[in-house]
């Protein structure tokens, strides 16, 4: 069966999302009832899925590549399926976030809470479905691609994989700059934001997000391929 990995990960992500949704909603209601809710809760909560995307990218190389090679697939065959899996998993994550914002807007509407965004996004309202989808799609693509690249570097070079972190960070920062959206929040390093402003002063064009994303995807996947194309499977479990 094709796309076994994609299907398994979508199902698993759906379960995780359902649990996460319940948690976020409980906190939202708690804050709302005590009158401390001043913004969209999912704007804050949406910082976690990007990390989920990153570790999904890592797991592609760490778990699934050895599994596929040990079952007689070539690295090339896996590379193609892995890249497609990564590209198709991102819209799934983005769709879950769109649904989250939509459900949230219903809840805020019923309760009469202010459904406002505190930061700059590609979208100005949480209900602008196409723009919300696009922003989180780009984010998921960039983060999972960076994850796959760093995952490959750590799998192959172990400690030497540390050198891949700056490159991964650059890929992510570039994507965020291309969107014109600052990466921010307690989970993200403040210097990533500085970096994306200082290093990438990209022209403000509507084509920029598209070009930036394609660029990050192509460069990230090619770098990953360069590492895995003749990568040995480890002799010891890690």
């Amino acid at each position: 069966m094709k796309f076994r990995i994609l299907l398994a990960n979508c199902l698993f992500a759906l379960l995780v999302w359902a649990a996460f949704w319940v948690l976020v909603t409980l906190i939202t209601v708690g804050l709302g009832l005590t009158g401390r809710l001043t913004q969209s809760a999912w704007e804050v909560a949406a910082q976690l899925p990007r990390w989920y995307a990153l570790f999904f990218g890592v797991s592609l190389i760490h778990e699934y590549l050895p599994l596929y090679v040990a079952h007689g697939r070539t690295r090339r065959q896996f590379g193609v399926e892995g890249a497609l899996t990564l590209i198709l998993f991102a819209p799934f994550l983005a769709a879950l976030l769109v649904i989250s914002y939509q459900l949230e807007s219903v809840l805020y509407g019923l309760a009469g809470w202010p459904h406002v965004l505190e930061r700059a996004h590609m979208f100005t309202e949480p209900t602008q479905v196409p723009l919300v989808f696009t922003e989180y799609l780009i984010e998921a693509l960039a983060w999972s691609t960076a994850g796959a690249f760093m995952g490959a570097a750590f799998y192959r070079f172990r400690g030497g994989g540390l050198l891949s972190i700056p490159v991964g960070v650059l890929l992510i920062a570039f994507a965020h700059s291309a969107m014109g959206v600052e990466p921010w929040g307690p989970f993200l390093l403040a210097w990533l934001r500085v970096l994306s402003q200082v290093v990438f002063d990209l022209p403000d064009s509507p084509l920029m997000p598209l070009l930036g994303t394609v660029g990050v995807l192509v460069v990230g996947l090619l770098l990953t391929w360069a590492i895995i194309r003749d990568m040995p499977l480890r002799n010891q479990a890690s």
């Binding site: 076994r4 040990a70 007689g72 697939r73 065959q77 040995p232 499977l233």
Partner: protein, 291 residues
């Protein structure tokens, strides 16, 4: 599948794991791969399964190169201690990946093996005991029915009864579905009966490769009065010797013809067979007495 290896070299940085292996393994047989720790068994099998690209040399399986050759690798299965094929979610999930990726997968057989090994497939493989994880690997390796099936010390953590199940299943499934099987092991006594051919590697080189019965026929223990034993074994390849008072027992390597056997009998010497494990220990001894 027929395996041809020529001048195979594999290095990990400065460490030479395989130091010029040349070897032909015939199709449809059960081959035993023996070697001490660090002799290169895992490295050799990993190259055969295209888990690793060799540093130098040539590997052909059914006449074709192996590395990144999907038409060949889809017919090869190597089960290692690392557990690449099973460390993925629950037992059920691991089997479902095997089913999706293995052309000859027999799901019913896999389930019956899980019952034999008393594996709870609903459990996460990473939470299983060492022995259960080994059993998972064995299940995947056997039920894949790959034309080239390799087990690299796949028994680790299994208790004696479970190992017997493993050996019995390898033999039964081989008889029912003949294929090329390579098993590496340290528990030589337990499994040597299954082998048709034996390869002994030592320090990254092939030390011996022979039909098992012929290899066994080459090892003989000569027991009797020390002087008579010494006289008889002079000029022969002596692998080891032990003394008990005036009695000496020497293990020699090499064919003994009928004339020599008669001579031994006349000198009052007792000739006996040497089992594979003893032969292996003597052949790979580090003190230089061997060969």
């Amino acid at each position: 599948m027929r395996i041809e290896v020529e001048d195979l070299v594999l290095r990990y940085g400065d460490v030479t794991a395989l130091d010029g292996i040349t070897l032909t393994l015939e199709e449809g047989k059960i081959h035993g791969l023996l070697g001490r720790n660090g002799s290169g068994k895992t490295s050799l099998l990993s190259v055969l399964a295209a888990f690793r690209k060799p540093t130098a040399g040539r590997v052909r399986i059914d006449g074709q190169p192996v590395f990144e050759n999907g038409r060949v690798t889809s017919r090869i299965s190597l089960i290692r201690d690392v557990g690449e094929t099973v460390n993925i979610g629950t037992g059920e999930e691991a089997l479902s990946y095997a089913e999706a990726l293995r052309p000859n997968w027999d799901g019913e057989y896999a389930r019956s093996l899980a019952e034999l090994f008393k594996i709870d497939l609903k459990k996460s493989v990473k939470n299983m005991s060492k022995g259960q994880r080994s059993a998972m690997g064995i299940i995947v390796g056997l039920a894949s029915r790959a034309p080239l099936t390799m087990f690299d010390e796949a028994y680790l953590g299994l208790d004696a009864p479970a190992r017997q199940v493993f050996y019995d299943q390898v033999l039964a499934d081989y008889l029912a579905h003949p294929r090329t099987i390579i098993m590496s092991t340290h528990l030589i006594d337990e499994v040597s009966g299954l082998f048709e051919e034996v390869v002994i590697i030592h320090k990254g080189r092939v030390l011996a490769h022979e039909e098992k019965d012929e290899l066994l026929a080459k090892g003989t223990s000569v027991t009797g009065p020390a002087a008579a034993v010494d006289a008889f074994t002079a000029g022969m390849t002596v692998l080891g010797s032990r003394s008990l008072g005036p009695t000496k027992s020497v293990t020699v390597y090499g064919e003994l013809d009928d004339a020599r056997r008669r001579k031994a009998a006349e000198s009052g010497l007792e000739l006996g067979p040497v089992d594979l494990q003893d032969l292996f220990i003597h052949l790979t001894a580090e003190d230089g007495a061997a060969r």
